[in-house]
């Protein structure tokens, strides 16, 4: 029978060392890991609980931006007024992961490293151009969030590496974001498709910068540059939104499965990108 051990290190270095052992799995909120343990989909020899590392839980403002401890729960994110004001889309993505109960535990790092294409926490982070600080046996490095998932269930992290914190850049004026997803139920469901849109506006209300990221329509979350480009210079006129939707749909390469057909996912991705763009635009102070 497999022997399992549990460790809750207090320093990142100690954690990296423990995680370098074969069969070690990091534990953050645990809302995916415990389901996998129970179903037998994973049988690690060591669980490394990252929550007792200093800085793993909590949010601090730094140079106008935010540093989010990787194991910070969705509930804590949702209660941070400053973060909500600056990055409402990032927070709503994180807050859509599971129920209130799951929100009490689930973290952005877990959501990202579980590497589900449908992860609700990820598209808005990608659209936000967020980065993560990674600790590993060879020290620290910083990488864009979108570089972490490598396919369903796979990440680009090397053995022993784990995410210590996320960094969200400082916000210029007239900037906001939004995340929308579609699920058959109103809650407690996995996204059939999801769209995060991050906008910065000029003073005249035209879009200065736009980033669009889509979930559940490809093996990893997609940053669709053409979709963002379709909005730049516009006030989200109907033609601009149609171009956004078309660009978003053109980037989709989904699978058909029990949660939705490829055709349906693609179509919905366009609808959601359009709707999320309108919400982000209004939040940024734009008037259509």
């Amino acid at each position: 029978m497999s022997q399992l051990a549990y460790l809750a290190p207090s320093s990142p270095e100690e954690a990296a060392k423990a995680l370098a052992a074969s069969g070690a799995r990091p534990l953050s909120g645990g809302t995916d890991l415990l389901v996998q343990l129970r179903s037998g989909r994973t049988s690690p020899s060591l669980i490394v609980d990252l929550k007792r590392i200093a800085g793993a839980v909590g949010i601090r403002e730094e140079a106008g931006g935010f540093v989010i401890g990787a194991s910070t729960s969705g509930a804590v994110l949702g209660e941070h007024a400053g973060l909500l004001r600056a990055w409402p889309g990032v927070v709503e993505g994180a807050n859509l992961i599971g129920s209130t109960q799951v929100q009490g535990r689930a973290s952005l790092a877990g959501n990202l490293c579980n590497a589900s294409p449908a992860a609700d926490g990820v598209p808005a982070l990608v659209a936000a151009r967020a980065t993560c600080v990674i600790v590993g046996p060879n020290g620290r490095r910083e990488a864009p969030v979108e570089s972490i998932p490598a396919g369903p269930g796979k990440t680009s992290l090397a053995p022993g590496e784990f995410i210590l914190e996320f960094r969200l850049p400082a916000r210029p004026p007239r900037a906001s974001d939004a995340y929308l997803r579609l699920t058959p139920r109103t809650e407690m469901d996995i996204a059939v498709a999801g769209a995060g849109v991050n906008l910065v506006l000029h003073e005249d209300g035209t879009v200065a910068e736009a980033h669009v990221a889509l979930g559940a329509v490809a093996p990893t979350v997609l940053h669709v540059e053409a979709a963002g480009a379709a909005l730049v210079g516009t006030r989200l006129e109907d033609e601009a939104l149609a171009a956004l939707a078309a660009a978003a749909q053109a980037a989709c390469k989904p699978i058909s499965d029990k949660r939705g057909t490829a055709e349906y996912r693609t179509r919905i991705a366009g609808v959601l990108a359009r709707r999320a763009a309108v919400i982000a635009y209004q939040r940024a102070g734009g008037q259509r």
Binding site: M1, R185, T186, E187, M188, D189, V192
Partner: protein, 762 residues
């Protein structure tokens, strides 16, 4: 006694019935004290687990458990070889009759595994981890066979056969070849073909529904102990401790009285706990190991191995005159039974046209085995499926006739004196009153918003009576204990206590209701078919009346007056002879003196209750559709039902609301999804998608009371009817919102969007 049975007491005379007291088991259930199936433990117990087939259809060539048995801490392994190979025998006592051999083969596969998840072996070990390891060491050699999942594929002449001995019953002549069609049901009245030829308007449709699960939140769980002298104890969560006792005794080949079953609190059943899965295995493991054995299913096991209800394909045709008179109907129902015969297609055939007075019809039903879990009863078994097809077609007929959907139903409604499509003549039914309640509701007249639609559908369930035992024991202080043999799934302790209190004339707080084990009360059929408040309630009232007769006799003795000079009123014995000048004797007084008047005061009654009185429901549903995504939300819902008389109106409303919620889930999102190998792809609450709180609006329940004269307080069964109309009510509302008829469930967003596209293109 016969007087009260003839005419239910007038409502104005009732003190307790119709009020809303707090349920007697309430405090235990809000504090976590109530003990459900998995909450019981015995000293020295082992953990039992089941090895399940990874194939949808396979011959079991061999099972080698030697390595599992050799594992330290593994105490027993059982397979089909440890159970008697039983002959075919029909067993009554469940919600539906079942075949003993099939029951046994479903508990443990013998020779062939018939569905993915079918039990092939079970182990008992000192811990969950050791049990898992033991399971992994059992080597089963399978010869994989072709499998069949869909009902029409299973009916095809070249389909893989599940059972070589199965020949279709119900045909004019016995077929010469075996088939997956276990039975054909047929019910013909008049001359439907001629009536169709003569009709002004004909509508027809083909309807498809997937298998859906009862979805009780508590997985099956039990503890079993087999003593050295052969006496057995079972503690389990089920809809009937006597059902568990009978089935275990038969499957294991032991005396019924050697098994005592104690009912745990039950965490939902909805029909799904009207049979056994774990209990015989736990007993066999306990016998083999010499230890008590506890078994608890995982949620995945619940989905893979316990009863869903049937998936179906149905064809329905209605013919009518221009004025809306329905003259002809044709209904064809093909139901999946799962691995063994016994789908609820028979009940579906009987209920399909039960709300309509149609002179000419043909109803045909097929009970078809296939390589999915054996279906189990699910709330009004079969009726919601048939009603989805029939009520969708009736909605289309109303549109074709440009008639109001309620007016069309009123025009063709069954009434007292109508001969029901399934045989008997209706009496004391409240169907038209229920239609009127919806027609006159504020909801029916309220305006609809953009992208919204409104649907009406009706439903019927027979309700059943049957065998029940109840005891009423008066304590020395005049309080009462009511003992029954029916597990309390949804508040029946409250209604039992209320009926006893009403009859005895004492406050309900002075009555303590108990659900007893099989050794402590006489036989009672299981809790199901909406029978408990009716049938067991009748036994409670009769036991209380027997107590009253005894109390009157004792009062007469104390007063030295003839027995007919004593009346029981308001909890007191009253002397009718004014000359005797006797002060009334309260129950307290009589109880305190019981030793002097003949000993303890108690009565037990066993009955086979008849005259349950059918129930009718009329539902009204508003949905809103997102035309860009196909997402459907139920925005308003009103359900009216003839309940006879509500004993505890809150719990009656609760039954109605709960049935609606299950029906809405069935309509919108719930389904079994099978992959190409016949394995269920969504065996968890995440992807099975039952409604959550934010999926539903408030659910308005209108209780229509047309009392049942066969019950002392007028009760009719209420639990089943509310799940019958919602499937069609939602579908009809969606038809109203979109202009498109979607005849296949669930009405999931991709399907709705595709239908909207089709409508635009067409």
């Amino acid at each position: 006694m016969s007087e009260t049975l003839e005419r239910p007491a007038a409502k104005a005379d009732l003190q307790v019935v119709g009020t809303r007291p707090i349920r007697p088991d309430g405090a235990d259930k809000v504090t976590g004290r109530a003990a459900y199936g998995a909450d019981f433990n015995m000293p020295g117990q082992l953990v039992g687990k089941v090895l399940r087939s990874p194939h949808a259809h396979a011959r079991i060539v061999s099972i080698d458990a030697s390595k599992a048995k050799a594992l330290p801490g593994a105490k027993a392994v059982v397979t089909a070889a440890d159970f008697p190979d039983l002959a075919s025998e029909v067993l009554e006592g469940g919600e539906q009759a079942s075949n003993l051999r099939d029951l046994s083969l479903n508990v443990m596969a013998r020779g062939k595994a018939l569905y993915h998840g079918h039990a092939v072996a079970a182990v008992a070990a000192i811990s969950s981890e050791v049990a898992d390891e033991a399971l992994s060491r059992i080597k089963v050699t399978y010869e994989v066979l072709p499998h069949v999942t869909e009902v029409e594929a299973a009916m095809a002449p070249d389909a893989p056969l599940l059972h070589d001995h199965l020949f279709t019953e119900g045909l004019e002549a016995r077929p010469d070849k075996p088939s997956n069609v276990a039975r054909r049901h047929r019910n013909l009245r008049g001359d439907p073909e001629a009536a169709f030829a003569d009709a002004d308007v004909v509508v027809e449709g083909r309807y498809v529904t997937p298998p859906v699960h009862q979805g009780y939140i508590e997985p099956q769980a039990c503890v079993a102990a087999w003593a050295e002298d052969g006496r057995c104890d079972v503690w389990s969560s089920s809809q009937g401790q006597f059902m568990v006792r009978t089935y275990c005794a038969k499957v294991l080949g032991v005396e019924i009285s050697d098994i005592r079953v104690t009912p745990a609190e039950i965490g939902g059943g909805f029909g799904g706990k009207t049979t056994v899965y774990l209990e015989p295995l736990a007993l066999a493991l306990s016998r083999a190991s010499g230890h008590p054995v506890k078994m608890v299913m995982t949620r995945e096991e619940v989905f893979r191995a316990t009863g869903p209800t049937s998936g179906s394909v149905m064809n329905v045709r209605f013919g009518a005159k221009k004025d809306g008179t329905i003259t002809a109907a044709e209904v064809e129902l093909k139901f999946q039974a799962g691995a063994f015969p016994g789908s609820p297609v028979g009940a579906a055939c009987m209920t399909a046209l039960a709300c309509y007075d149609v002179p000419n019809f043909l109803i045909t039903g097929y009970d078809v085995v296939n390589n999915t879990p054996k279906v189990a009863a699910y709330r009004a078994p079969g009726a919601p499926i048939a009603a989805f097809a029939v009520e969708s077609a009736i909605d289309d007929l109303a549109r074709a006739l440009s008639m109001d959907p309620i007016a069309l139903r009123e025009k063709n409604a069954v009434r007292d004196g109508t001969k029901a499509s399934y045989g008997p003549t209706y009496q004391n039914i409240g169907y038209v009153e229920t239609l009127a309640a919806i027609r006159d509701s504020e909801h029916y007249k309220a305006p609809l918003g953009p992208n919204q639609g409104r649907g009406v559908a009706v439903g019927f369930w027979f309700n059943v009576g049957g065998e029940s035992t109840a005891a009423v024991n008066i304590a020395e202080d005049g309080s009462a204990v009511v003992v029954t043999g029916n597990p309390d799934i949804g508040g029946s302790r409250a209604s039992m206590a209320m009926m006893a209190a009403e009859t005895l004339g004492i406050p309900v707080e002075r009555v303590r209701p108990m659900v007893a084990d099989t050794a402590s009360i006489g036989y009672s059929m299981l809790t199901g078919g909406s029978r408990t408040t009716f049938a067991t309630g009748m036994a409670v009232v009769q036991a209380a009346e027997k107590v009253i007769a005894d109390l009157k006799a004792r009062a007469a003795k104390l007063w030295d007056v003839p027995a007919d000079q004593v009346e029981w009123r308001g909890g007191e014995a009253i002397c009718l002879d004014p000359k005797a000048d006797k002060k009334p004797l309260t129950l307290e007084t009589l109880a305190a003196q019981s030793a002097r008047t003949g000993g303890p005061i108690a009565a037990q009654v066993s009955i086979n209750a008849q005259g349950a009185g059918p129930g009718f429901g009329v539902h009204l549903c508003d949905v809103e559709v997102d035309p860009e995504t196909g997402q459907v939300s139920v925005v308003r819902y009103t359900a009216a039902q003839d309940v006879g008389r509500a004993i505890h109106p809150s719990y009656v409303e609760g039954q109605v609301q709960g049935g609606v919620a299950q029906g809405v889930g069935w309509a919108l999102n719930e389904e079994y999804i099978f992959d190409a190998q016949g394995q269920m792809e969504n065996p968890g609450f995440l992807d099975y998608r039952m409604p959550v709180a934010s999926d539903l609006p408030m659910l308005d329940a209108i209780l229509v009371e047309v009392p049942n004269p066969r019950h002392p307080y007028g009760a009719k069964g209420v639990g089943e009817v509310p799940i019958v109309p919602p499937l069609a009510a939602v579908a009809n509302a969606l038809r109203g919102a979109t202009g498109v008829r979607i005849p296949a469930l669930p009405l999931s967003p991709p399907k709705v969007l595709a239908a909207l596209d089709g409508a635009k293109a067409g």
